[in-house]
Structures are given as structure tokens and as C-alpha cells.
Amino acid sequence: MAAATVAPAPEKTRKSLRAGEGRRGILLVAPTLVMLAVVILYPLVRAVIQSFQKDEGLNPATGMFVQGGYAGLSNYSHWLLQQCAVAGGGTQPCPEGTLGSQFWGAFGITVFWTVVSVGIEVILGLWFATIMNREFRGRGLVRAAILVPWAIPTAVTAKLWFFIYAYDGVLNHILGFAGIPPQLWTSDTWPARMGVVIADVWKTTPFMALLILAGLQLISKDVYEAAEVDGASRWQVFTQITLPLIKVPLMVAVLFRVLDVMRIFDLPYIMTGGANGTTSLSILVVKQIRQGFNSASALSTIVFIIIALTAFVFVKFLGADVIQRPPGYTKRKWFRRKPPEASQSVEATPEGAEAA
């Protein structure tokens, strides 16, 4: 402690402390980059290569044995255009019920879940966060309670709601008080779809609320007091002060949640097995794997591209600033050889300083 309170070290000492930092930094990050290359890049490249190969084996549609080999874009057109191979060459629209006919349906329901679930989560999350941002007794209890759904494994959540949704289960029982007839929550198309939304919203609203709350706590109370003095209405305060000030954390939370729901698997897979119009894109990939993993690889590559594009749109256009560079840092500096502020820190000195 004592050392920190002494007068700052002479500029020269500080400079020499930072010598070689550029190289050390890369060295420390290198194991991570290697690991990510092994566990993400390699499988991804492998998937892309596989996606241009034909699946060997019997074609379920035609009963013909298909040789492997270069497939061109046929695996992609199989999914995107829903074209299936026919005996004797050529393609036709995939018959109803085959996996190939389900891509756009799965895409649609995945997007539906994303929009509806995240929409509800944002509204509820804002409400929860606003409530928790006030001063109250028992803060610890509320925070613990809200962490419970977050901590329960999604697989257990799915089983728990599967039980709540049972025909004789507690949800239908409660709805009975309101005169609503019992629903088949896991085996009827729209109840099952909404069942997934409810379970997902229950599990993930806490995460949303906590992120928004962290953003709210950064807003100074003075701003609100000033608004009150100026006679702003509550709605004005919310839309013109709160929302703009929490925009970045809110958009980051929304981005994470959107990407989560885009790849949703556990909940619908365990609750319905993907039946009755609840096959998400991820479930479709998994169903396809046992029928031919080259075609599954094409599908998983498509899913990857969809998710990457979504993330790109959020970061680029919707202000989900996940990296948050220091003020004044612009992208162009990546390509400059000597960043201005680096004269006393980064790249500019290593050789010279080490020699000295």
C-alpha cells in the first residue's frame, strides 16, 4: 500500500516497465487463440468442407444408394430451396414430413420465439429492474430469488415445466379458476409453442433484469431530480432519460438473449421432442445428424451464418457495443503502425527500450 502513495515513478521507469508489452501480450493471448482454433475454427472448417460432400447411404426419399463425393451446393439447396434428390437424378420439392421440407418452418418458429420471448423479456426485465432499483429492505432475498431460475439447468427447467404443463398439472388447475379450459401444453401446436415461450421467459428474464439493473445503477440520481424539477412526466423520464442512458447495456443484453433463442434447443427438444411445430433450427440439425452428417453440416453452417449476421447487425447498427473501446479509440488505429497514445506504451518502444 505504501508504495502506491509515493510520488509517481519517473517517466523513464514507467516506460521501461512497459517495455516488451506488445510481445508479452500476444504471448499471453496465444494459448487462448490456439485453443479456440482447435475447438471452434477446426470444427467450423470441417463442417464447411463436409457440407460440400454427398452423404453416403440410402436416400430415404428414393431408396437408392447414394455414393459420396463432391456435392456442389446441393446440400444447401436441399435446405434453402427444399429440394430433395429423386431416383435417376434431378431434384423435386421435398415431400411433406421429410426433414428437408422443414427448414423454413423451423426458421419461422425460431424467429417467432426470438421476437416474442425476447420482447416479453425486455418489458418484464425493465419492470423488474425498475422495481429492484428502488431502495428497499430484503434486497438479498429478492436478488437470491431472481437468481434461482437462472441457476436451474435448462434441462431441469424443461422437465419442471413439462410437469407443470401436464394435462392434470398445476397450470391447467390454476387456469381452471379463471374458467379457461385445460390445454395440451406440450402436444398441441400453439399451446406447445407458447409453452416454450413461457418457460424460456421464466428462466431468462432474471438475466435480462440484472443486466438492466446494473445499467440503471450507473445513472446518477441528479438527472432524475433535474427532470422532476423541470416537471417531466414519468413517461417522459422513462423514454427520454432512462432508455437512452441504458441503451448500451440493454442492447448487449438483448443481443445475448437473441443469439440464445436463435440457437434454442434444450427446452423444445426435451418438452416436445420438436413435435407439433416446435422444431427449432438446432433441433432440425440434430435430427438430421443421424440421417447424414454432411447434409447436417450444411444446415449447421447455414445456422451459423444466420447467427453471425444477426450479431453483426446488432453490433454494427443497433448499438450493442460489446467491446467498448476506451474513449477516442477508433477502428482505423488497428491498421496504423504507431498509435498516437502508444508513444509511451505500446508498439513504438519495444526494440529501443530493450536495447537500453
Binding site: A3, A4, R18, G22, G25, I26, L28, V29, T32, L36, V39, I40, P43, L44, Q50, F128, I131, R134, E135, R137, G140, A144, A145, I146, L147, P149, W150, A151, I152, P153, A155, V156, K159, L160, F163, A166, V170, H173, P206, L211, A214, G215, V252, L259, M262, R263, F265, D266, Y269, I270, L281, A296, S297, S300, V303, F304, I307, A311, D321, Y329
Partner: protein, 305 residues
């Protein structure tokens, strides 16, 4: 209790001296507490229902009495019983093995990267940070099909091959660990490290002797978050684990999802709820004990980067 506690809590310090709270403030406070009650109910009610059911006799599965009735411990015995082809005990052990190994590897590699990202200036730093963030958003499903074909070629889908799940789990555990650690490290008083360096420590010594003790809570929280994420993983394990009873590498999440009952198409609800309780309660205890740290870990990355 509510109405009496209101003036103090709603107004905090400023109102102690000021005029007595107006009616409007009271209404606001009542609504606040109503909202808080809803939040607590939201978080706890379904979880509570799981526990109540876990202790209920099978014959009374669908009784909707909201407190403990017809209690029994049979469901926990059923959950651990291997008579119906379930291997819940082994699955618990598998989850611990996979979770601990994944967390250890992710922390070991991640701590160096996070230190560099939080502390140093080097070329391509923000590009690398972007890569790591991109990796954290990477869809697990894009790994499943290439890894399924690769692992079946090299025989990792048979036998005791825990690495068939540990390695893919690194893909999300490592970015998560780095992301959280970088945020924690960014808030540490690094001047102390510089002071230690000036006093003659090597960079390694300065980190170990001065910074590591200060960083311990952040490291611990990150390890918990990473462990929970690995413990909760389902998609990869459902495809890449081995359900052969003699080489059973299936983790609990997958085991619970495919829990079979006495009859093939009869869901053993009470036993599943008992199993779910066993899987969840350790996590809940972790969360209750370390809630403050966990909340800061969860939100650190999102708010400050």
C-alpha cells in the same frame, strides 16, 4: 409490516428530516412491495413446486395442494435406482468430472488472456477481444455435426471418452471465463502491481504476490460461472456422450431428460423432480452464498466491457 416500514424505506435518508410522507409516496411504496413480491414469487414458485413434488408419493403426483402433503423419500431412491436403466448416480459423477475439467482448463488458459486484455496494450488487442466475444456467441449446434462425424471416426463416441464433451465445452467456457475475468481485472488497483515492479519484483512475482490475492474473488466467481455453464450444458452432451451402461459418460442434464419410468410411455414425474432437485440444489446453494459476486460477474461484462 408493509405499511409501517414504508416511510423509512421509500424515502431513505432525505425524508427523515422532511415532512411526513405524502399519500402518493405511500401508494408508490405499496406498489413497490407488490412488485417485489411478484419478483420473489416468479423466481421461487416453480422451483418450490419441483421440491414439493419431489417429496410426494407417486400415487399423489397430481395433487395440487400447495404445501408438503403425502411426503416420502421414495422418489430419491427411485432416482438413484438403476433397476429401470437409469444411471443417475454415475451421471452426477460424470457431470462433476466434465464440469471440473472444463472449468480448470478454461481458467488456466483464460487467466493469462484476460490479464493481457485488461492490463496491456498490444497490437490487434481489440481484434482479439472481438474474436473472443464472437466465440462466446458461437452456436453450439454448429459444432455438433462436424464433431459427431470426427469423434465417431476416432472412436470417441465409445468407451470412457470424457474429452469428447470437455473439449467442445471449452468452446463456450473459455470465452465466458475470459470475458468475465477481463471485466474483473479491469477494476483492480493495478497501481499496486506497478509499485511492486518498481520495488524490484519481476512481472510474474508482481502478479503472483500482489495481484493474485486481490484478484482471488474475481477468479473464484468466474470459476463458479464457468462451472455452472458446463454443468448445465445439454446439446453437445446429448449427441457426444456414451450411454452404454458399461461406459456411461452421460452427464445429469441428458440423464434427466431421458429418465425412464416403470412403463415405457409413463413419465416418472416425481422421480424426475427428485433428480432435478438433487441437480439444482448444489447450484442454488452456490448462488445463495455467492449471490453478490455472481451478479457482479454476470453483469460486469455487459455494462463495462
Amino acid at each position: 409490516m408493509t405499511t409501517e416500514a414504508l416511510p423509512v424505506t421509500a424515502g431513505a435518508a432525505e425524508q427523515e428530516i422532511g415532512p411526513p410522507p405524502r399519500r402518493k409516496d405511500r401508494g408508490k411504496a405499496v406498489r413497490s412491495y407488490l412488485g417485489l413480491a411478484i419478483i420473489v414469487l416468479w423466481g421461487l414458485a416453480p422451483f418450490y413446486w419441483m421440491i414439493v413434488t419431489a417429496f410426494r408419493q407417486v400415487g399423489f403426483t397430481f395433487v395440487t395442494t400447495p404445501w408438503f402433503t403425502h411426503t416420502t423419500l421414495d422418489n430419491f431412491r427411485t432416482a438413484f435406482s438403476t433397476a429401470r436403466g437409469n444411471h443417475f448416480g454415475q451421471a452426477l459423477l460424470n457431470s462433476v468430472i466434465i464440469g471440473v475439467a472444463t472449468t480448470a482448463i478454461a481458467m488456466l488458459i483464460g487467466v493469462f488472456a484476460a490479464y493481457a486484455l485488461a492490463r496491456m496494450q498490444f497490437r490487434f488487442k481489440y481484434l482479439i477481444l472481438g474474436i473472443i466475444l464472437g466465440a462466446s456467441m458461437f452456436p453450439g449446434v454448429a459444432l455438433v455435426s462436424p464433431l459427431f462425424s470426427l469423434f465417431s471416426n476416432i472412436g470417441w463416441l465409445q468407451g470412457w471418452n470424457y474429452q469428447a464433451m470437455i473439449l467442445p465445452d471449452i468452446s463456450f467456457a473459455l470465452p465466458l471465463a475470459i470475458y468475465t475475468l477481463t471485466a474483473f481485472f479491469g477494476e483492480l488497483p493495478w497501481d499496486l502491481e506497478e509499485a511492486a515492479r518498481i520495488d524490484g519484483c519481476t512481472p510474474g512475482q508482481a502478479f503472483r504476490k500482489v495481484m493474485l490475492p486481490l484478484a482471488a474473488p474475481g477468479l473464484f466467481t468466474t470459476a463458479i460461472l464457468t462451472f455452472i455453464s458446463a454443468w448445465n450444458e445439454f446439446l453437445l452432451a446429448s449427441q457426444l456422450s456414451n450411454s452404454d451402461p458399461h461406459h456411461y459418460t452421460v452427464p445429469v442434464t441428458v440423464a434427466i431428460a431421458s429418465f425412464s419410468g416403470a412403463q415405457p410411455h409413463q413419465e416418472p414425474y416425481t422421480a424426475v423432480m427428485a433428480a432435478g432437485t438433487i441437480v439444482t440444489v448444489p447450484l442454488i446453494i452456490l448462488v445463495l452464498v455467492f449471490q453478490k459476486a455472481i451478479v457482479s460477474g454476470l453483469t460486469a461484462g455487459g455494462v463495462k466491457g
